[in-house]
């Protein structure tokens, strides 16, 4: 049998009329007509992406502004460009994934592997940029950073969820990732501790905890 023969079988099937039981169609119309009202279509994806990124920047900068921008001043110009560019690109990717998931045919969303790659990319950048090592006060200084980062991530997650829930489905991992990135950005602006292990564990930890929380919510 050749592909043409197989095509013929499909062509015959496609040409034949397929009927749906009129009673089924009637059952479909019933509930639809009972809740019939005009709806406003979703805005373009770029509008949502801009909104998510606006919330990301606003929350990170305003909370860092309240707590102090010592971290930003401690960084060199190269550090600032590399770190904030990476955080910005990652936030844009997460925001795009959330906006995409708002329509049924939206592209594949962010999964666990994307979260892992983002965390590893941040760890690699911090590993290259920061040379201070040592574990003095590792936990004592780390816990407040993790806590502050997560406190920053929560309003971002709630805000993005509220906007995204108008869409077809939510993407908890992407929302968690974007919220975690908000926390990391706030910490990079606020925390002056440039110890490599501190930044790698406690700052990136905010992203991991927020992303995993999103993943767990998705599994529920």
């Amino acid at each position: 049998m050749t592909p043409r023969d197989i095509d013929e079988v499909f062509a015959r099937a496609a040409a034949s009329e397929h009927r749906v039981d009129p009673a089924v169609l009637q059952r479909i119309r019933g509930p639809l007509q009972s809740s019939f009202a005009p709806v406003k279509p979703l805005a373009r994806p770029s509008v949502y992406i801009a909104g998510f990124l606006g919330a990301f920047a606003l929350i990170a900068v305003s909370l860092a502004g309240v707590l102090g921008l010592a971290g930003f001043h401690a960084l060199t110009t190269t550090d600032r460009v590399v770190i904030f560019a990476l955080l910005g690109v990652s936030a844009w990717a997460s925001a795009s994934a959330i906006a995409g998931e708002m329509t049924p045919q939206g592209r594949r969303t962010i999964g666990g592997w994307t979260l892992a790659i983002t965390a590893l990319a941040l760890i690699a950048v911090f590993g290259v940029l920061f040379r201070n090592t040592g574990f003095q006060g590792f936990v004592l200084q780390g816990i407040p950073c993790l806590r502050a980062g997560l406190v920053t991530a929560i309003p971002e997650a709630l805000l993005v969820f509220l906007i995204a829930r108008r869409g077809f489905s939510r993407s908890p991992v992407a929302i968690g990732t974007l919220a975690g990135l908000t926390g990391v950005t706030m910490l990079e602006l606020h925390c002056p501790n440039l110890n490599m292990s501190h930044v790698m564990v406690w700052h990136v930890g905010v992203l991991v905890v927020a992303g995993v929380a999103g993943w767990l919510i998705k599994r529920l």
Binding site: V9, F10, A14, V20, P41, Q105
Partner: protein, 165 residues
């Protein structure tokens, strides 16, 4: 579709009449019974109605419908799997539903499709039966055109191997 969003009842009825047979056939091609396909079609229309605001004017409408149908099918599959996992195995398994005999014209569509894995089956159903383009199928299945081509190619290879025996 835009008129449906604006609560035009006539447009909604026309859409239901026009799209339902396509979606019903899509479900039937996924190796489900007619009654099950009826249920899935009803669920799909409820989801379509709830999500009608997520259609953006100017975008191709068929991938949007099929994407929702696919979500419904996947949810139904997961629900069935969960139920099966909860149920205890019975000593005597029910006999599978008998397939209609082959006609002299050759293998029928159901027999052809049922031999394919789920992902290849849905791609073939959309491409060859619903007449969608590669791009539309890629959009509806949230994958790339390359992936759709690969699945279609593998499906044809499998069908050829099976029918060549």
């Amino acid at each position: 579709m835009v008129r449906y969003q604006q609560a035009d009842l006539e447009a909604a009825n026309a859409l239901i009449d026009q799209v339902s047979p396509m979606l019903h056939r899509f479900f039937m091609s996924q190796a489900v019974s007619r009654a099950h396909a009826d249920d899935l079609l009803q669920d799909t229309w409820l989801r379509i109605h709830e999500a009608r605001h997520t259609y953006r004017a100017g975008e191709p409408v068929l991938p949007w419908f099929y994407a929702i149908a696919r979500h419904v099918r996947v949810d139904d599959y997961r629900k069935t799997r969960r139920r099966q996992n909860r149920e205890q195995a019975v000593e005597v398994l029910p006999e599978p539903e008998a397939r209609p005999p082959k006609t002299e014209r050759g293998p029928d569509l159901d027999a052809l499709l049922s031999s394919l894995p789920e992902s290849q089956r849905e791609v073939i159903a959309m491409l060859k039966i619903s007449g969608m383009s590669l791009e539309e199928v890629a959009t509806a299945t949230r994958s790339s055109v390359g992936s759709v081509k690969q699945k279609a190619h593998r499906a044809y290879e499998k069908l050829r191997a099976m029918l060549g025996k």
